[in-house]
């Protein structure tokens, strides 16, 4: 099979070829390395490339598979990791110049699990410094560029994770999501991004930003691929105090069988309270078309009464910033001049949050979560656009929507941050393009541990549409 075709295959298709020994892991790794050689200079998705590491893992995988020791869907598959997951012997910068020489002596839980599944690490991926920004700008490592328009942002903070999957530089990537950092780059780059229920994937060995809001999640080319990734990544880990003791599940089971039928009869509540007036018209049109498609598949779409999402956002912002300041006080006070100054200030502002204000924000957050769970008794899922705007230009600070100026951070994070703050599972899937040919994301949100339903409905949508099969010409 031609090299370029291999790098465009969904993980599930590549895995099937590897399992049937029609493609060897070494062949796959070499194809991806060639693709990275060609595209990386234009996209800047990686902070550190690990081609030798990938080839070593691929040779080992090949030998194991030839001996009959196939481990599963990730065996021999080229993957990338956001550069805040510790990787033994491979530097882990967290997007910061301060950590540019930090080489961990043990793997994070995510790296361990990928390694156990036989995946081949092609590199550590671009991210915004300390994961505290929704753009794809990084003062130290340069901007990650959107493969659909390289003069535009890829979204963040898991910027390289979105770029690498969209441009065929990794079959699967893993990022973190505290306010939208998996879903925003997925939305802007036109790939599938899953933020599971809080605690479903261990955060052990990942640089924290906010211990009560940090989630780990995969980015992939399809919902089925995300489900296969979740199978490998989910599971209890006593080293992460937030880790759930949820029973193991096969998240991919039944997806292909349910196909387009998977959305039939599912009640989907449209979230209206995030501000349509501050949403780009092209984004709104794509979202409305996606909802119409889901109705065609038998979903029961209706309006959903949700709590004041601006309050959820405010509570989430107070909590996230206070926790970031508690975690990174020494860094900002001692070496703040070496940081991106906007991110330094964002963290420092958390030093000014009193214990009373932090705890009140936590109580407000808990109360609003109860209200959202109450809404989710009336409907099975919630739906919204992933972001209120499509990918901004790299230099852009504001966007004007219906005559009003909106800061791009608000446009990027306003809708996703809500669902990080309340710990609910959420997925972003491609649902169309703007007139400028930029991807638009559809966000679906479920009850805690409702990933099987979430994946089933998202897969039904992808079964009946082709947005997720489009490739940028880069």
């Amino acid at each position: 099979m031609a090299s370029v075709e291999l790098t465009r295959l969904p993980l599930s298709a590549l895995a099937a070829l590897i399992e049937r020994r029609e493609v060897s892991p070494v062949e796959a790794a070499e194809a991806y390395i060639r693709r990275i050689d060609a595209a990386e200079p234009r996209l800047n998705a990686f902070i550190t490339r690990t081609s030798d590491h990938a080839l070593r893992s691929a040779r080992q995988a090949e030998a194991e598979i030839l001996r009959g020791g196939y481990r599963g869907a990730l065996h021999g598959v080229p993957v990338g990791l956001k550069d805040l997951f510790n990787t033994q012997g491979v530097r882990t910068t967290s997007g910061s110049a301060i950590d540019s020489d930090y080489v961990p002596d043990e793997d994070s839980a995510v790296a361990e699990r990928l390694s156990s599944a036989g995946a081949c690490l092609v590199g550590k991926l671009h991210m915004t410094e300390m994961a505290f920004d929704g753009t794809s700008l990084n003062r130290h490592y340069g901007p990650a560029r959107n493969p659909w328009d390289t003069e535009r942002m890829a979204g963040g903070s898991s910027s390289g994770a979105g770029v690498a999957v969209a441009s065929g530089m990794a079959a699967l990537t893993v990022g973190t999501d505290t306010g939208g950092s998996v879903r925003v780059p997925a939305g802007l780059c036109g790939v599938t991004g899953l933020k599971p229920t809080f605690g479903l994937i261990s955060r052990y060995g990942a640089t924290p930003l906010s211990w009560s809001m940090d989630h780990v999640g995969p980015l992939a080319r399809s919902v089925l691929d995300a489900a296969l990734a979740l199978n490998a990544l989910a599971g209890h880990d006593p080293r992460d105090p937030g880790s759930l003791r949820a029973p193991p599940r096969d998240y991919a089971a039944g997806l292909e069988e349910s196909g387009a039928e998977g959305a039939a009869g599912v009640r989907i509540g449209v979230v209206d309270s995030f501000g349509w007036d501050l949403t780009e018209p092209d984004v709104k049109s794509a979202f409305e078309a996606a909802m119409a498609q889901l109705e065609t598949l038998g979903a029961d779409a209706r309006s959903a009464a949700t709590p004041d999402l601006a309050l959820v956002n405010a509570a989430g912002s107070v909590v996230q910033t206070a926790e970031a300041a508690a975690l990174h006080r020494e860094r900002v006070l001692g070496r703040g001049r070496e940081m991106d100054q906007a991110i330094r200030r964002r963290i420092e502002s958390g030093l000014f949050i009193s214990a009373e204000a932090y705890l009140h924000a936590q109580r407000v957050r808990a109360m609003l979560r109860r209200e959202l769970l109450s809404t989710l008794e009336q409907v099975d899922l919630l739906a919204s656009p992933t972001t209120a705007i499509a990918a901004p230009r790299l230099e852009q600070q504001h966007v004007t929507i219906q005559g009003r100026q909106v800061h791009i951070r608000e446009g990027l994070l306003r809708i996703t941050r809500v669902f990080s703050a309340v710990g609910l599972p959420a997925i972003s899937i491609p649902c169309g393009f703007t007139e400028d040919a930029l991807p638009v994301g559809l966000q679906l949100v479920g009850r805690p541990l409702s990933e099987p339903l979430l994946l089933r409905v998202a897969h039904a949508y992808q079964t009946s549409t082709e947005w997720h099969t489009q490739h940028p010409d880069v």
């Binding site: 229920t197 809080f198 912002s317 703040g336 200030r345 808990a366 710990g423 805690p448």
Partner: protein
Amino acid sequence: MAERPPLTYETFAALALLYGLDVEDEEHLRALFPEVQAMHDRIAALDAVDAGAVPPGSGLPPWDDSEPV
């Protein structure tokens, strides 16, 4: 609930000293002030919310959703 007074630059600078920031770096402090004011405004907006439905010390995040809700 008692109203939270607006944050003045003088109060901010005094707190900055207390919290260990380099108050000699006036340019940095001037740039930081709007960020802290914005956070102060968010906190003030939350003051208006009665969170009495959540008993103190219970139900706070992170939540344990090990059993499906």
